[in-house]
């Protein structure tokens, strides 16, 4: 069935894909293509006569093949067979794959680039992954005018969504929430000494996020030395501090991440009072990831001590997610705008054949009329009449042709339709 919303020609585009909403991880990981595998798939797709262009977006949460089909039905079967059924036949079952065509397929890619389709709304990595997909299709030579333009439009939509809205702002994980709190208090994260109390998974995760965002001075303290050594292997630039002397390490830090399995507080109000006395006027951020809590809650009452635990970080994450959700309509607007530009570009490509048809029709009429009238004029004037009428037709068509040829974007589309209808050009054979 055709698109009922718009009678004008749609993009010749087909998308077949699966994502975190339709398939569990064990299926998604089987159809995840990286490096050589993605390259090979693209080559195989383009080898099929029914596929004119192809690109592949493959991340841990989605695998999507975008093709320009020569034969829609045959191209669909080729994509399903090569990209999905060959690796995970279960995906051909009900509801595992989604199929979009034309503008819906383009809209979907733009929404993906804008972070609207991500598992974590607005996550920033997807834009880079879409960029990689476009680069790969370019490098392998499977993208042509349409796919290249489609990905360029999607990347623009994604970049605009991040620049003009808050769809990617605010931390939505415990690690990045700690980074965000650090940046809300301290001028430069690079200069804020970080202390990790407890060298387990949670502490390492937050340390990784802090280092990724520029933190440079990392110290670890832990009850068992073995864990400390493991930590130091993962973070070679870090230093260790004796656990029994931890109050001293707290005094030297700006950010303290506490994540131990201890059943009672490892940092008491007394520890922190002593630490704060050694650092007057300087704020201290403490992130307590322990359950039960590793830091005495009474310490939160100390001046300049900002104590946060798992629940308050969760409050922050939920607030940020809510802010991101509120941005969805603004991102949708951007996607629609960029989609409009893409469609306008595609439809604008129709101008040339239309102009050719218009000129051909005018020339046919001119010849007919001249042929019918020539007998009434002396033979020596025939050449002049022919030249005159040719010039007349050319001059009459010059301005409208120029306008149609140079017209850009949405504004020219109604003109194309109007010209087609007024001059009844649909039946005119294209030269």
């Amino acid at each position: 069935m055709g698109d009922q919303r718009d009678s004008r020609p749609d993009l010749p585009l087909l998308l077949v894909g699966t994502d975190h909403r339709c398939s569990p991880l064990e299926l998604r990981e089987r159809v995840s293509y990286s490096g050589d595998a993605a390259e090979e798939l693209l080559v195989h797709l383009l080898a099929r006569p029914e596929v004119a262009e192809a690109a592949l977006v493959s991340t841990c949460n989605r695998t999507e093949a975008y093709v320009e089909p020569r034969d829609d039905e045959a191209a669909y079967h080729a994509v399903v067979e090569l990209a999905f059924a060959s690796r995970a036949p279960e995906l051909t079952g009900q509801g595992r794959l989604y199929v979009r065509r034309g503008r819906d397929a383009a809209h979907h890619l733009m929404a993906v680039a804008g972070g609207l389709e991500s598992m974590v709304l607005g996550e920033p990595e997807i834009l880079g992954q879409v960029k990689q997909a476009a680069a790969l299709a370019d490098a392998v030579g499977t993208s042509g005018t349409l796919v290249r333009r489609l990905f360029r439009a999607a990347l623009k939509a994604g970049s605009r969504a991040r620049a003009e809205t808050a769809i990617s702002s605010g931390a939505v994980s415990l690690g990045y929430a700690t980074v965000e709190l650090t940046k809300a208090i301290f001028t430069r994260i690079e200069e804020a000494p970080i202390l990790v109390v407890g060298a387990g998974q949670a502490g390492r995760m937050v340390a990784r996020n802090l280092l990724e965002k520029g933190a440079g001075r990392l110290t670890v303290t832990n009850r068992t030395q073995l864990r400390v050594e493991e930590f130091l292997r993962e973070f070679p630039g870090a230093q260790s501090h004796p656990f029994d002397d931890r109050a001293l390490a707290v005094a030297a830090a700006d950010v303290v991440v506490v994540a131990t399995g201890a059943g009672e507080p490892v940092l008491t109000r007394g520890h922190l009072q002593a630490a704060m006395a050694r650092r007057p006027g300087r704020p201290l951020l403490i992130v307590d990831l322990g359950v039960p809590r590793n830091v005495d809650p009474a310490a939160a009452r100390l001046g300049n001590v900002f104590l946060h635990h798992v629940d308050s970080l969760e409050t922050l994450i939920q607030r940020n997610l809510k802010l991101r959700r509120e941005e969805i309509p603004r991102v949708e607007e951007i996607v629609e705008e960029e989609l409009g530009h893409l469609l306008a570009w595609y439809r604008g490509m129709e101008a040339e054949p239309l102009i050719a048809r218009l000129q051909k029709q005018a020339e046919r009429v001119r010849r007919q009329e001249v042929a019918a009238a020539l007998d009434r004029f002396p033979a020596e004037t025939h050449e002049q009449i022919d030249r005159l009428t040719r010039s007349l037709v050319r001059k009459i068509l010059h301005h409208p042709s120029k306008r149609l040829r140079n017209g850009n974007g949405e504004e020219i589309l109604p003109h194309l339709d109007l010209v087609r209808e007024l001059f009844q050009l649909d039946g005119e054979e294209e030269t």
Partner: protein, 283 residues
Amino acid sequence: MSPSEIFLSAAIVLLPLAYLVVAIAYGRVFFAADRRTERLAPGLLLAVLTLHLAYLGALTAHLRHFPAASIAEGLSVVALAVGITYALVEWLGRERSTGFWIVSVIFFVQLLASVLRRPEAAHESEVLKSAVFAAHAFLALMAYAAFVMAAAYGFLFLELYRELKSGAFSIFYGKLPPLEVLERMMAGALHVGWIALTGAAGIGAAWAYRLYGPRWAADPIILLTLATWGLYSLALVLRRAQRWQGRQTAVVSLAGLCAILISLVVVNFVVGDFHGFPGAPGS
């Protein structure tokens, strides 16, 4: 009425309204993250500051002296000084998140100036034309402008501090510069204000003693200035001695500004001018 007088009368009404419009624009930037208004707001502020500058220029020409002889004139100069300082800070730091709060304070100060204004009359006072007066008035107004800035940053510091401390993240969190930056800006403004006030008070007191003898200390503005100077000095000393943290300093900067504004209003209605030395001619 001459064209100059018409302009002065119109500008005194227009200025608070114009600052209100700018404050609303910056409010849209802060609360609604409106990108289009964010591009528009600095231009609006610049236009209003230009109008303000033109107003004070016309007033100077009309009065034939720097317009700092009355509380209303002084407040208007302070409002302009804060506006120019903020515009420079914004331009240098590309930081527009504090605009709403600073421009709101400017609006309030200019509103006060417009309400307290009395019909300007040119006078040929020798005092107003002297270099000592110019130095005294310049330093005093600079101090007040700095205290206005300190109070605005102090308010923002306290709000962000409260949100970070309680974990109840609402409108301030994520939109303001880091706590450390706010504290530094507040403390910097306090230091500038204190130095300028010390200079203004020193020059003013010496000059008043020379003119009025022992009666100089009976002037309400001098008493008020000395009290304010004492309060800010105490805050800075305790801060330097590391007994006070940012929070206490922020409270003092807010309290200090409130005290200054309330006292100026009271003095304006009781004394009718900046200074009222008992028994002094023209007091």
